[in-house]
Amino acid sequence: MRAADTASARDAASGGAPLLEVVGLTTTLVATGASVLEDIAFTVEAGETLCVVGESGSGKSMLALAIMGLLPPAIRIRRGEIRVHGEDLARLSPAEWRARRGRDLAMIFQEPMTALNPVMRAGAQVAEVLRKRRGMTDDAARGEALRLFERVGIPNARARLSAYPHELSGGLRQRVMIAIALAAEARLLLADEPTTALDVTIQAQILDLLNDLRRERGLGLMLITHDLGVVAEMADRVLVLYAGRMAELAPVAALFDRPMHPYTRALLASIPTSEGPRTRLVAIDGAVPAVGAMPQGCRFRPRCPHADARCEAVPPLVAHEPRHHAACWATAPEDRAS
């Protein structure tokens, strides 16, 4: 009830603005000024799942951390807006941004092994959010932590409250992380490869859980993944990142049916066709260029089969269909590619 109340209050206050709206986000290395993310723009609506895909080093984690305001000290937001409930977090002071974390947006990290405090009981790591961020008493927090543990499907939840992280399996730890993310009732959930470190069967369970929670609470989910199988199962829309730039942004069906960027096509071609195990995106020759060593123009150019002279200029992100954007000279509609 409470969740719904505050959520609807926020929706009303933001005047129907998307849950998350990123505009022209550019982050750079403090030391050299080299860009890590460049000109990123997308939205996540309430109840929607946006999957972010791209090879290792393409900037997926940095994007999530930038939105949380938790970038490593070496990287800084240079330009752009990060609107959550219509409010630009990038303009806030660090203290104001911190006050939004947990309450307005929450994050689940990739490594459940290291993301929990090893010397603190699992229940306490949830309860502290309830006490500090929702002002609950110790007793109320304990009760609510138990309910959250049960909701995220931790068997034998009452006993697990007093377990230490090392006493829990990877899957259970990730469920604890999800309980932490839910604790302060944030509507926007960022999940950075939440299942990569887990067994295949556990992966499916965790994804189901995230999906149920999204539907039940109307969460906006930004799900980072390497795994196009996960994309097919979970995504409403997909953002393809390459070397810190947007390659393509499209509804999931359009992306799989009519990929417009050669990089997306290469990614799709790298999916194993048989019923084999899901593999990481490695089937394209070469690797993502390093920050500070980016090629001029299109960053995919050195690996692209269609590269020509035009690609020495940065390709703009253009709409192929109303909600389908790609940044490529070769596939851009005629009138834009001149």
Binding site: M68, L70, R98, A99, R100, R101, G102, R103, A106, M107, F109, E111, T114, A115, L116, N117, P118, V119, M120, E128, V129, K132, R133, Y164, H166, M177, I180, A183, A184
Partner: protein, 314 residues
């Protein structure tokens, strides 16, 4: 937990056995014989022989050793050759002196060192960090006896705030007692504090970079809360080991610092015994120091298990 402690206890027993073997054996590698000290140079070989029989020095070495272990296990460290009293008595009498200096300097070194180190970590690469680090480097690079001598010159001889040496038992006045051990404790503490501060800083910096601190930050908790509730307990775990190491170093340090301040502690007793080849006192004293050291480390291990739940499984 029980199994963890049992293993540690067994480990300590093995160390103790090795130390005792070494203590006993080393004596016989050292040239010289207590009889040459006890008797005048003009003593006849008969006189020497009688004394050796009286002291049990005539028996074969393994027998002497068996004798010694038998007595030690029943709590009897033997009779001092020179002091005309039992070794246990002599040690117990001097124990409070050494322990108070070691304990006070340990407390000072750990509390101040940890605080300074953590401040340095929180202000990484800013001026508090630089001050702590350069002070720590100074502490690390001066020997404790030198610092002790400087303290004597400045605070005792120069300013007259403290006695230049000697020890006042606590029964004769707390203030006098405190003044008599202030300088030696401080000299010892300062040299160890640099080490503690550097370790505390490194440990805190390491912890603050770990994923779970980022998780705590993602909860929107205040920085102070994150540092104290999530950072500190994790940073303290490796510092407990450091405390064990320091305790050993401080025990060794008291031996020297007691000489500088002419304080009648266990260290001076042992050094006196070495100079006069009072074998039972040397053996008893070294064994005793080893036991104290092992006890301290056992306490550290127990604390370790209390702080870090992962250790209890190991």
């Amino acid at each position: 937990m029980i199994r963890f402690l049992a293993r540690r206890l067994a480990g300590s027993a093995v160390v103790l056995l090795l130390v005792s073997l070494l203590t006993f054996g080393l004596i016989w590698l050292v040239p010289g014989d207590p009889t040459t000290v006890l008797l005048e140079a003009s003593a006849t070989p008969e006189q020497v022989g009688r004394l050796r029989v009286a002291l049990g020095l005539d028996k074969p070495l393994p027998l002497q050793m068996l004798d010694w272990y038998g007595r030690v296990l029943s709590g009897d460290l033997g009779q001092s050759i020179l002091l005309n009293r039992s070794v246990t008595e002599a040690l117990l009498e001097r124990l409070p002196v050494t322990l108070s200096i070691a304990a006070i300097s340990l407390t000072l070194a750990v509390m101040l060192g940890v605080t300074a180190g953590i401040l340095a970590a929180l202000f990484h690469n800013r001026w508090p960090d630089q001050i702590v680090m350069s002070t720590a480097l100074f502490g690390l690079s001066v020997p404790d006896f030198w610092l002790g001598l400087v303290f004597v010159v400045v605070f005792a001889l120069g300013l007259g705030w403290f006695p230049t040496g000697g020890f006042t038992p606590i029964e004769q006045g707390v203030m006098e007692w405190a003044r008599s051990i202030a300088l030696p404790s401080l000299a010892l503490a300062l040299t160890q504090m640099g080490f503690v501060a550097r370790m505390a800083r490194a440990s805190m910096l390491d912890v603050l970079n770990q994923d779970f601190v980022r998780t705590a930050d993602a909860k929107g908790l205040s920085r102070t809360y994150v540092v104290l509730r999530h950072g500190l307990p994790n940073a303290l775990v490796p510092l407990l080991t450091v405390t064990g190491i320091i305790a050993g170093a401080l025990l060794g340090g008291t031996v020297v610092i007691e000489q500088v301040f002419s304080i009648p502690g266990v260290g001076r007793l042992i050094i006196g015994a070495i100079l006069s080849r009072d074998f039972p006192v040397i053996q008893g004293g070294l064994l005793f120091l080893a036991v104290v050291y092992l006890l301290v480390n056992l306490v550290v291990d127990i604390l370790y298990a209390a702080v870090d739940p992962r250790v209890r499984l190991a």
